[in-house]
Amino acid sequence: MSGAAVAAASGPVIPHYGTSDSCVLHNGAFCWHWFAQNWGSLFQPKLIQHVELTVIALVIGFAISFVLALAAHRRRWLAPPVTFVTSLLYTIPSLAAFEILVPITGLGSLTIEIPLISYTLLVLFTNTLAGLSGVSAEVRDAATGIGLTRRQMLTRVELPLALPTIVAGIRVATVTIISLATVAAYVGNEGLGQLIFDALHSNDFNTQFLGAGGLAILLALVADGFLVLTQRQLTPWATARRPV
């Protein structure tokens, strides 16, 4: 068995169907052995790719939304049109968006990332703006009273107070992207979704379905949990009140 493990670790990405493994031969419910053997060559790289896709979309999406939210915070009239456009983007089914982009950007990362980024905008923009404008008038008055400039008010008062709402938005955006990135594999051959589509198109191998699907679900739950803990660390005062 150790020889096979070494071969799987150093060789090319070829699923190793052990001849002696009856679980694999009979397509058992879940073959731990096969999963462990192919972890390094199959599951781990796709999991890392999935995380990369998610992080890229999240960072770019947040940068765009944050700038838009700051602008709309200063000029209120900007909020309705930005909300309208971002909700429109959000309503477009992702599979349709991916396919419509294929003739323009081809099959690949760009075709995946553009819709992924566009799906983060609505929730990140809405929540950042809601957080910033949710700061009460008394707090603003107090901040003005102690002589804070507009910039100081933003960085020292409004942003810290808006943080729980912003992180709530990031949580939704993160799990959304992790979910849509699995579907995106259909046009980009990247991430855990690729393993699911591969299994669908070839051998209907249960272990590959459960392994890839389970990892995607686990990734979403872990990312969500991680963000909750981060928010609690960053804003200890928020959890002192009634958590929602």
Binding site: P80, V102, A130
Partner: protein
């Protein structure tokens, strides 16, 4: 750009095919929405009425939101097999959380003074729910159903690869329908999602009690429940 016009030509020449596939697509979507509403609304309303179970109502939505639909389909596959049932289960898992959470929040946040007044007038519990809490909660409940419906109609496309039929049959079958068919079915899908958005928004406005319509809304509707936004495929 010719790919896009070719797709338009496909839509024009394959009206009957697209119509049949759209019918299946809508049947799957409505079945999943209906199941979620039948399960989610009564549960949410009752929990909201007794002001208990916020942990359940909020966390079901948080966990449900985190489950990627394709991953769920994939995990269910060895258990349920390639079938319509698999797709329906996944769509219900997708649609149930926003319906439940919105129903709970909608009834829970009805002004307690109004409920007290209704009790003071001698209304029984069933009357309080039916005549006071439910009418006031309907707009938010239907906002949840709208969110769910738009996700479901988008995600039902995955039925194409998991044996449920619908527009996904074309979108996932480039060998048979060429890129023009794939993009053509994407057009139909986009129109369908926008139509659902508009249709359910209309429904939401229609069920809003007249007394609530005149009042200026304190918060724009999109800002009310950002936490209920969910992933759609």
């Amino acid at each position: 750009m010719s790919a896009f016009s070719a797709a338009f030509t496909f839509v024009i020449h394959n009206g009957h095919l697209l119509l049949t596939k759209t019918e299946t697509h809508l049947a799957i979507s409505f079945e999943a929405i209906l199941i979620s509403v039948v399960l989610g609304v009564p549960l949410g309303v009752v929990l909201g009425h007794i002001h208990k179970g916020s942990f359940l109502a909020i966390n079901v939505s948080n966990v449900g939101r985190a489950l990627p639909s394709l991953a769920l389909l994939s995990v269910l596959l060895p258990v349920v097999g390639i079938s319509r049932t698999n797709v329906i289960i996944t769509l219900v898992v997708l649609a149930f959380p926003p319906v439940l959470t919105n129903s709970y929040v909608a009834v829970e946040q009805v002004d307690s003074d109004v409920v007290e007044a209704a009790k003071g007038m001698g209304m029984r519990t069933s009357e309080v729910i039916r005549k006071v809490e439910l009418p006031l909660a309907l707009p938010l409940i239907f906002a949840g159903i709208r969110t769910a419906a738009v996700f479901v109609v988008a995600t039902a496309t995955l039925a194409g690869v998991f044996g449920g039929g619908g527009l996904g049959d074309i979108l996932f079958n480039e060998p048979s329908y060429k890129l023009s068919g794939v993009i053509g079915s994407s057009y139909v899908l986009v129109v369908l999602a926008l139509a659902f958005q508009v249709m359910f928004k209309g429904l939401e406005l229609a069920v809003t009690p007249r007394g609530l319509r005149k009042q200026p809304r304190l918060v724009p509707p999109q800002v009310v429940e950002p936490s209920v936004l969910q992933p759609a495929a």
